[in-house]
């Protein structure tokens, strides 16, 4: 029951994200846009390219969807409204998100197309850049909660949300979240206008529909992740807890979609340089800062 409800919420969120993304990229607010797009995509022929690696080609989009759903399985929408509350929840989110890269690698290699393959390998490089900026800010979050349970991480923010307690960690994690969802300015694997869609270039019809649905679910999952780890999750006055999680997550998703509109796409080597030379030292500083505050100030 809980599982079905959470999946429904995720799908509704994915729909909202699709509307928002259309608004952010075309400048037009079309509430029925995703339905029309889906009908159009499902009506089209789903072409399989010549000498494709058929297994990877078929599995890629599905694995992308599964990894986004698995990450969402350990995120609480309200007290008790969680699919499974793992003792290693914060680590599990990261483990599930690692397979986003595997899925894009498969989708890139599968169709035997140049643009797709370049896009797929690019995302592997992107992961080398962003993965530390997922794990290290999460370490500081877990330090404060003294637990990897996602529910306890939310409860630890009762006095002050992590976005205020550790703003540097929030900024780094938010940027890494943009990179995981390959949203602009980190849309290197799809790169419209340069790679002609990259990993999505060779997908058509129903397969493309799954791919785009998976990407939208991924954005929702990351928005909920940011909400749970930094924005106090379900905490808030008056409204019921689930409403707070949903409201905050939608705001975060909107921020994720609109921020990149005003920044040019970052080149692969610049992305790696910035993430490694600035991101990782800042993330280490963040851990040190949080540790000092927790040990000295709070006690």
């Amino acid at each position: 029951m809980t599982t079905a409800m959470i999946i429904l919420v995720l799908l509704a969120g994915a729909y909202a994200v699709a509307v928002l993304e259309g608004w952010a990229t075309n400048g037009r607010f079309q509430p029925a846009g995703p339905v029309l797009d889906a009908v159009a995509m499902l009506g089209r022929e789903s072409v399989v390219t010549r000498s494709s690696d058929r297994i990877f080609f078929e599995v890629g989009p599905v694995l992308l969807l599964i990894s986004a759903l698995l990450a969402a399985a350990v995120l609480p929408l309200a007290p008790g409204l969680i699919i499974t509350d793992l003792a290693t929840g914060a680590l599990f989110v990261n483990a599930a998100l690692a397979y986003v890269m595997v899925a894009l690698l498969m989708a890139g290699w599968g169709p035997d197309g140049v643009y797709a393959m370049v896009g797929g390998w690019r995302f592997l490089g992107q992961l080398v850049g962003y993965s530390m900026l997922i794990v290290m800010p999460l370490t500081a979050v877990a330090m404060r909660a003294e637990s990897l349970f996602t529910t306890r991480i939310v409860e630890s923010q009762g006095a002050m949300w992590n976005v205020i307690f550790q703003p540097m960690g929030f900024i780094l994690f938010f940027l890494a979240a943009l990179a995981v969802c390959f949203l602009p300015p980190f849309d290197l694997p799809t790169a419209p206008g340069e790679l002609a869609g990259g990993v999505m270039a060779e997908y058509t019809g129903a397969r493309l529909a799954i791919m785009r649905l998976a990407r939208a679910v991924l954005v929702v999952t990351l928005a909920v992740t940011v909400t749970v780890f930094y924005m106090g999750g379900w905490l808030g006055p008056v409204l019921p807890p689930w409403a707070w999680t949903l409201g905050k997550s939608l705001l975060v998703a909107a921020a994720m979609l609109f921020v990149g509109r005003f920044i040019p796409r970052i080149r692969e080597e610049h992305l790696l340089q910035w993430f490694w030379k600035f991101g990782i030292p800042l993330a280490l500083l963040n851990i040190l800062y949080v540790g000092i505050v927790l040990l000295v100030v709070d006690s």
Binding site: F56, L86, A87, A95, L105, M106, D112, L127
Partner: protein, 165 residues
């Protein structure tokens, strides 16, 4: 009972993906088959209630094996396996060694007295216990390993860098 079935299923999946690693001629398929073989081992850990170990295994193998895939593509002459390249050699010796090795392992499993099985520990206590272990008894080992790996990484990069004019 259910636990045994799942451990067995994931174990068979791990072996099957392991076989695929050597039977496919595509480098990327080979690397990703190894990935899923290791992920199946992670799932076995989960089925055996060692949650932290399982999640860690699944996470680490996802990234490591994919990075290995790109190196295999870079260095092999036929990464897609479209030219029917055969990488196997000394087949008879390998087969004999493989079968003998498997028999030895199976023998060890059944013939060794494993003693009493440790009682199950709740997952959150496992995480806590592991943290204490890393910060107390095993700290020196892990710090030494970490510094050694870091030194190796820096040395590798230094060797690989082009000399500046």
């Amino acid at each position: 009972m259910l636990q045994t079935i799942f451990v067995g299923l994931f174990g068979i999946a791990a072996i099957w993906f392991g076989v695929v690693v050597f039977t496919t001629s595509s480098m990327v398929r080979s690397a990703l088959a190894l990935l899923f073989s290791q992920a199946a081992v992670g799932a076995m850990f989960l089925a055996m209630q060692t949650e932290f170990l399982g999640v860690l295994q699944i996470m680490m193998m996802g990234t490591e094996m994919s990075i290995m895939a790109i190196f295999m593509v870079m260095y092999m002459m036929d990464p897609g396996g479209l030219m029917g390249m055969d990488m196997t050699h000394q087949k008879r010796i390998s087969q004999v060694a493989g079968v003998l090795g498997a028999l030895v392992v199976v023998g060890i499993v059944f013939l060794v007295g494993w003693g009493s099985i440790a009682g199950s520990v709740p997952p959150d206590q496992q995480v806590h216990g592991l943290g204490i272990e890393l910060m107390e008894r095993s700290m020196l080992i892990f710090e030494t390993a970490g510094i050694t790996i870091l030194t190796a990484m820096i040395a590798t990069i230094a060797v690989a860098l082009e000399r500046r004019q």
